[in-house]
Symmetry: C2
Subunit: 422 residues, 2 copies
């Protein structure tokens, strides 16, 4: 068998099994799905040694390949992280089952009764990188919402991912879920991912999770519908009326609390009227926290340590302790700058002006808009969805943090008494 044939055969077999499983999963009662999630959680804790041994193999290979400390940290599992995965599953099990919800319904003048009822998507394909935790998080959310999942993780974490997916898949079956409900592609060749993206017959949606190049590759090559989870070039705007103590506190939190994630800010916009009072003060605190500043000319006149920002800086998602800073004339310039350079993820305003807050919420075209709080709250758990499978920056299907509802579709049920169309 040639490699190409082997890849096609593995990917197609697994996608087909997932599709078959999805036909059963869609109709299982919540209690069966929830019991399976709890059993998987217990199994992860019981099989910690097995999981850590698989992870050690990935870590050893990663170190030999010279991966950065940051990547090694994302890859590493330990007792606490395994416990975290188990706890995450228990939390998902406790959420309400979205399947079967009657979203709306009405009676037509001719007597037809119409209901719009929530159903699973079917088969979710997840293409992701590095963090092995995602294997369990995504599988848990998919099973809870009645979907089968086909996992395609990165090569760095492949041994850990296979170990986790196999444990979850086996336990799911003993708990009464259909074989094929969790499938993992073991071949890490790029061709396997490419082929998976074309299987419209078996997959209902593809969700890419990872860096910009992974997402670009999926968006450009997929034939299966994609929900894009993209970069976050997030902004914080300090309005003329801002409480400057709050503005400093939120700026530090939005930039420094976890700079490597998509909902951290990359550009700070400051109204000219408060620039002199605010910028030197926030710059001191940011630099004390190790943040490198890149400013426009007005900023640099107030903060001499700031380097010169270029056009490129307004476009850049640093994911690091670097912050671009720009002084704006008014809220119009702030909104225009954001709608021009943002990736449509999360933007925040600090203001005490009612009209400014209203305009910012109405006119900013991003998935989440924050007033007097930090963009770091753009997260399914933090805003109250219970959990998330990613953050969508596209407008169709789901936008912003995606919880269980984002993993569902609906169908129309129409009941009559012999009505015909004339």
């Amino acid at each position: 068998m040639t490699t190409a044939t082997a890849i096609i055969s593995e990917v197609e077999d697994k996608a087909r099994r997932a599709k078959q499983a999805s036909r059963v999963l869609a109709h299982l009662p919540a209690q069966v799905k929830d019991a399976a999630l709890l059993k998987i959680a217990d199994a992860l804790c019981q099989k910690e040694d097995e999981i850590l041994a698989a992870n050690a193999a990935d870590m050893q290979r990663a170190k030999a390949q010279g991966l950065s400390e940051a990547l090694l940290d994302r890859l590493a599992l330990n007792f606490k992280r395994i416990g975290g995965m188990a706890e995450g599953l228990r939390q998902v099990a406790a959420l309400r089952d979205p399947v079967g919800e009657v979203i709306s319904g009405w009676r037509r003048p001719n007597g037809l009764e119409v209901r719009k009822v929530r159903v699973p998507l079917g088969v979710v394909g997840l293409i992701y990188e590095a963090r092995p935790n995602v294997t369990i998080e995504a599988a848990g959310l998919c099973l809870k919402s009645g979907n089968a999942i086909v996992l395609r993780g990165g090569s760095e974490a492949i041994t850990s991912n296979i170990c986790l997916a196999n444990i979850a898949g086996e336990v799911a079956q003993t708990a009464g879920l259909p074989a094929g409900c969790i499938e993992i592609i073991e071949n890490t060749d790029r061709a396997a991912a490419q082929y998976l993206m074309t299987l419209r017959e078996y997959l209902d949606v593809l969700i890419p999770r990872g860096g910009a190049s992974l997402i670009k590759s999926v968006v450009e090559n997929a034939k299966v519908p994609v929900i894009e989870t993209a970069e976050g070039n997030c902004h914080l705007y300090i309005d003329a009326s801002a409480d400057l103590d709050m503005a400093v506190k939120v700026t530090i939190n939005a930039k420094c609390q976890r700079p490597s994630v998509c909902n951290a800010i990359e550009t700070l916009l400051v109204h000219q009227e408060v620039a002199a009072a605010f910028l030197p003060r926030v710059a001191r605190e940011l630099m004390a926290a190790g943040v490198e500043l890149k400013g426009d000319n007005p900023t640099r006149r107030l903060v001499s340590d700031a380097k010169a920002a270029t056009e490129e800086d307004w476009k850049t998602e640093y994911l690091d302790l670097i912050l671009a800073v720009k002084v704006v004339c008014d809220i119009d310039e702030a909104i225009a700058h954001i709608n021009r350079y943002s990736t449509g993820h999360s933007e925040a305003i600090i203001t005490n002006d009612f009209e400014a807050a209203g305009r910012f919420m109405e006119e900013i075209d991003s998935c989440a808009v924050f007033v007097n709080t930090t963009t770091r709250f753009c997260d399914g758990g933090e805003i109250g969805l219970g959990a998330e499978i990613g953050i969508s920056t596209q407008k169709i299907h789901a936008r912003g943090p995606m919880g269980l509802e984002a993993l569902t579709s609906y169908k129309y049920l129409v009941v009559g008494q012999g009505q015909i169309r004339s």
Copy 2:
């Protein structure tokens, strides 16, 4: 200027203008949008002569090219059809504006107030064939829901389409809508459509409306997210407990009332226990209405005029007075046949058995499931959405008839008092 450059320039300029318009349209109050729709409706009636002259040019070219009578009928405009377009716009103006709806909202334990608010998609790209009415129908639904539209119709109707889009676009501007809210691509070269499908920077969604090959081309070539409106290989299943009078009436309606549309049935499935009582009777009526029957062997033993059905017949959307007929052992076989061969559009059951009706609604994986009524009701107007821009057969974003809500997305608004993430 080379042709390729001219195409790129036209498509890109128009898409960019639409994007700029969408930034304004998204925030217009309902009364401005509604007044514009009513003005466009009036203008269509006032400019009937101009529209009919443009249509006459298309008709003359189409006749010279030898288009079929059915296609000529789809292409033709007359006073009644223009009045129908105007009336459609007035009905859309009377619908509730979906934009600004607070879909849901809650307070988090830390005091953050979260709202999920409905917003327009932005720019809708419509790639469609033949019927010039679609130009006005789609533009009306997009404007009402705060979206700009880029139209790309087929070459047959191009003169009519340009005339209609220009009238609508000019009137929209005089009514206070932004320039660029209705753009039409005038170049009918396939390359223009292909290029439009790649413009992720300007288009938020692409909706193809037309035959299977058009939809396939869009799905395979688009980089912009697509909402697929696909074929309807629809089924009607007559259960053992069916009221046979109702079954005959619904079968005739579902097949004959308008055989050329996607929600007409293509395959009739009959429970073996009622086959002898039902099939000869319904066959007489179907054949009297000019329907050609293609049956499996049990059907042909009861209906001698039926031709032999092949595997290909179960897969075929005839869109014509042809019906495939199969006798099934039980509801399990009916459901399995439908889930295997259906395109996921509309399926119906005639039954008086409560459990059978429940199983059919639960287990059939199509966008609309009908009990004791005809699949012909799978239509936005008929099920009560007010109007539709198409019928989606995919699971993400929108499924089934797509009304105004299907042309919207949402964003999260989060208001705090200085909360930060720890």
